[in-house]
Symmetry: C3
Subunit: 471 residues, 3 copies
Amino acid sequence: MTELHLDPDRLFPSDAATREIARHLYQAVAELPILSPHGHLSPELFTANDTFSDPVRLLIQEDHYVLRILHSAGFGLEQLGLTPANGTESVVPAREIWRIFCSNWHRFAGTASGYWLTSQLVGVLGIDDMPSEESADATYDQIVKALASDDLRPRSLLDMFGVEVLATTDDPMDDLAQHASLEADPSFPVRLLPNFRPDRYIDPANPTWVKRVASLVESFGAPVSDYRAYLDALAARRLHFKAHGAVAADHGVYEPLAVNLGDSDAAALYRRGLTGSLSDAESRAFQGHMLMEMARMSTEDGLVMMIHPGVFRNHSSRTFQRFGPDTGHDFPVRTEFVCSLRPLLERFGMHPGFHLVLFTVDESLYSRELAPIASFYPSVYLGAPWWFLDAPDATLRWRSAVTESAGFYRSAGFIDDSRSLLSIGTRHDMSRRLDATFLARMVREGRIDLPMAERVAVDLVHTIPREVFKL
Amino acid sequence: MTELHLDPDRLFPSDAATREIARHLYQAVAELPILSPHGHLSPELFTANDTFSDPVRLLIQEDHYVLRILHSAGFGLEQLGLTPANGTESVVPAREIWRIFCSNWHRFAGTASGYWLTSQLVGVLGIDDMPSEESADATYDQIVKALASDDLRPRSLLDMFGVEVLATTDDPMDDLAQHASLEADPSFPVRLLPNFRPDRYIDPANPTWVKRVASLVESFGAPVSDYRAYLDALAARRLHFKAHGAVAADHGVYEPLAVNLGDSDAAALYRRGLTGSLSDAESRAFQGHMLMEMARMSTEDGLVMMIHPGVFRNHSSRTFQRFGPDTGHDFPVRTEFVCSLRPLLERFGMHPGFHLVLFTVDESLYSRELAPIASFYPSVYLGAPWWFLDAPDATLRWRSAVTESAGFYRSAGFIDDSRSLLSIGTRHDMSRRLDATFLARMVREGRIDLPMAERVAVDLVHTIPREVFKL
Amino acid sequence: MTELHLDPDRLFPSDAATREIARHLYQAVAELPILSPHGHLSPELFTANDTFSDPVRLLIQEDHYVLRILHSAGFGLEQLGLTPANGTESVVPAREIWRIFCSNWHRFAGTASGYWLTSQLVGVLGIDDMPSEESADATYDQIVKALASDDLRPRSLLDMFGVEVLATTDDPMDDLAQHASLEADPSFPVRLLPNFRPDRYIDPANPTWVKRVASLVESFGAPVSDYRAYLDALAARRLHFKAHGAVAADHGVYEPLAVNLGDSDAAALYRRGLTGSLSDAESRAFQGHMLMEMARMSTEDGLVMMIHPGVFRNHSSRTFQRFGPDTGHDFPVRTEFVCSLRPLLERFGMHPGFHLVLFTVDESLYSRELAPIASFYPSVYLGAPWWFLDAPDATLRWRSAVTESAGFYRSAGFIDDSRSLLSIGTRHDMSRRLDATFLARMVREGRIDLPMAERVAVDLVHTIPREVFKL
């Protein structure tokens, strides 16, 4: 058996002198509370607070990063225990899937997932054998045993990681009862914030748009054909979210396009959209108009606006039809902000209190568009590296590409965006280590004095996320 | 108070062995004269040779990099003392603006501006307290006092920095009287070169085009409707510039598009342009045609052609209307050279003596388009990293991306492109340090022998700019 | 004279501790056999097995990387001894061209070619003086003498480099007689594989398409107008290649576009294409359709499909007309895979045994499109850095950009793609050194344990290329 090992100096710079500085900077932030203003965990995880049953669901099946890599190695999603639509529940034994995972551990070498998994296996689950065909059964049993402990229930994990603020991502029609119950629960000390995510309510090209809009507007007591009521209902749902602690709305649009439509044009498109008769261009214009409306509402209710654009989702139709979304075949596409978002920035970019956090999975935008925009418009903040870019080297490339134009204070703090509770500790730790590494190099290169680096390191974790997300 | 500190090893590599090589390479070029064949200083600075009055105008108000960062932190340009169009002159006391700047010093940490400002504060102005709310008043007074010295007058600064050649950027109709007077002044030893910048005379979409073209052609003694006279007048103005020392023409086009129009088509568009009736596509074609004409004239009069494309200028209409251009809201856009510029390269790319220096603010072009083009066409040189990319990490990324295809000898030497006299010394010094750092790594990695690195380091500062810009 | 020097630690990391790890990892792979499943050498090189006559043809005239750099320095291709179309054979003495090359040695400093040339000059040809005007004549004589030795004949070089598998790139109508003769030759121990390259047979916009298609279909015994026979003839030629050892087909398309046309639409376009009456859009659609057909055939005959897209070839018409293709003026253009290739991936992306290796000369695709696609679709592999990106820094950028999403096991192993026999050893050695460097950093940063790094280093050279290319 080969030892699985967690280097205390992991992610620090190679050069010993610089490493020493990074170690020092990291010490000051390693134990600070975690602020996680955007992610994809379910509130039920904490209302139920059940123990996790086995490592397969926890580490493999609900993590599309991990699924993706095993799928690319030739393992079908059925083999990994996912249940196809209209299919019968998987009967692949969890232990069998764990063996596949362990036998393919080398495929995770060098990946972000490999890094996170190692941290979780060693640091949380107490495993010290490298996953392999040989070690699979033993580690499976070890993890099952560990998971039975109360120390690894969802609430205990939040405590272990030092989570102070955590966010979910929710449908606008969600009643947020789970959030209310947790807020009312004195034994749950974490601030659990819903995020308002209206994508399917503002995009007429979404196949469920008509149905959702009808439910939205009718629940508001108006006929679905009433465009003004549609806007008011969205505003009301935002206030409902705000009343349950929300600080932000999140927008997963294909392109970050903002369009200025007059009210009557918008209303006309809206009504024709309800009959399903919009052209692609009209749908796109209406969605762009609604992104503007969402910004306008943010200037009114104060919810921070996040935009996560530029992902071609569900690339493999067959996989989507069988296994649904978030199963590993979403791919980034080229994105553009300067022209697309201009109408929104012209109108709201300097609105006091408006906060707009821009994310991208297109690295070429970092220095070309995002840092320049964020270093002029006071509303715009640079979202942390997202998805395929949420990894050590990619994060350092991001800091390198944006900092020289925009400084550290236009970045919005780390966002884990996680669907995996177990990974939250290591993701935030990774970010802190990488910022220490980046800052240490700047100190070593005589570009920042050490006292400034110390201040920046703390602000990135402590001050900036509170300011940007109004926590 | 925290000390503000200038590390003698700044920008050198982290690794001690490599750092030693970089130090050695830098020594050989640190004191070589500065050749600055493109920039934005005003010749009046040197004819008047007045002392600078206060640090605010000098370091903040005329530097759109600095304005931009303070603006993004929520300080309106009025608060920073800029006078709005049709507004009354700012009454914000300079000392007050200096306090804002000092209180926000952390926002400059890690930026190119932060690096340059530190060099200027410590190295030129003798400040050794880190800017902060507490130190603001004292440093303000210190700087005001320092600026009163003759040693910090514009001419003295050129001498302090070792400037041998300096360029301005000028309107084609400029009489260049200031340049003539400086050339005739034996006490001014610097070669001050005008740059011919005809953008607004060749783009029919520019709102001032008709007026400018009329003044150009009529001053040439021809009716404005005479297309041939328009070309001849431009050629004559270029010769006027050349007679006053110009070695280059500069082109700030939105896209680097070259179009082959026949003479009669061009003349027809020209005449219709004068009536304001061109479509966008026609304007674009005419401007592309004129870029070709500018290249043709360069092959005739020998002026080096520079192209600075790909910037969306004046993104915030409100800011532009109130405060004019160059106030921090110009953003890069995606750019393309291979197809756009092909007609020009086909026609003039191998013309003996034609020099074309291409700049970009789109990093993705470095390895994909620019290095390949410059390593085939003998006329094409790689412009130094520009604007948002004129920073330590970005410069090293540039060298890394272009050198492996094109070598060092297709790069055009450092261009400071500065609007800030005080920053010229540190900008050139930064470039020399970074080239030493890049070369030192190549030596350490066994990719260049040390004697070759020594030669290249000197050529980059001394030989190459003279050759490329025909100095 | 300055010594020309080959550092045994070349390309290893600067930091001493990391360098030690890299050295260790490299040792394990340095002597492993070379597998080269794609390249551009001619089989005649080995059937004839002639000695090379002089260094100019060997190192300069047949290497468009080298020609390009000398051309950009102002040396016309005539001066470099190339014979223009319809011109008389060059009479420039080889020694004269060698002098030009040596006098311009500084222009190769820092380039990939400079690195390869140094390795060949020192490591293969035994030169230890740095090329220069002064040393030119002596090194010329030395090389001529060395080349006369049997040790530097083509077959001996393969032996010296440890080549086990080598590929050529061949026209579909090639009879592959040279390959057959080498396969039958017991004294030639290398597996020499043809690559099926049908570009000019599937692109109706190619000026030779009609002629080639006619020859293809008629040799198959069918009338050229028979679309079905056209497909069958292509399939038959693929089988002919397979029978001569081919494992792969290669596609040098301008864009990686796949189009689903119905059979009757395709047949109609085909027949109209034969009359030369397709619009650009129709040609593009037909070519996209044929890329789909090529993929389909790969799923049937098992040939690995390679796509090398995104190059604007023969940019300078004048140079192309005089000197033909591959003379240094091919430039990368922006490329897109996610949408363009989707129809192909939808249809064949999960076909068992289908292998699709994607290459690019557009770095912005690494993290944005290629790594995500290859880490989901089991058929897709990441081609090694290609052409302008096949260089030390570019290769490390590639590993950094793709590994964090896709791991090491979705990369396809090193591809030298070489037209220069003498460079094959150093190109593979470079790749092994760079992978050791990349892995060593990961070990030093605590991201991979050393035993895993050792496994990956060997798999990248030994296991992965065999699997991906079915060797």
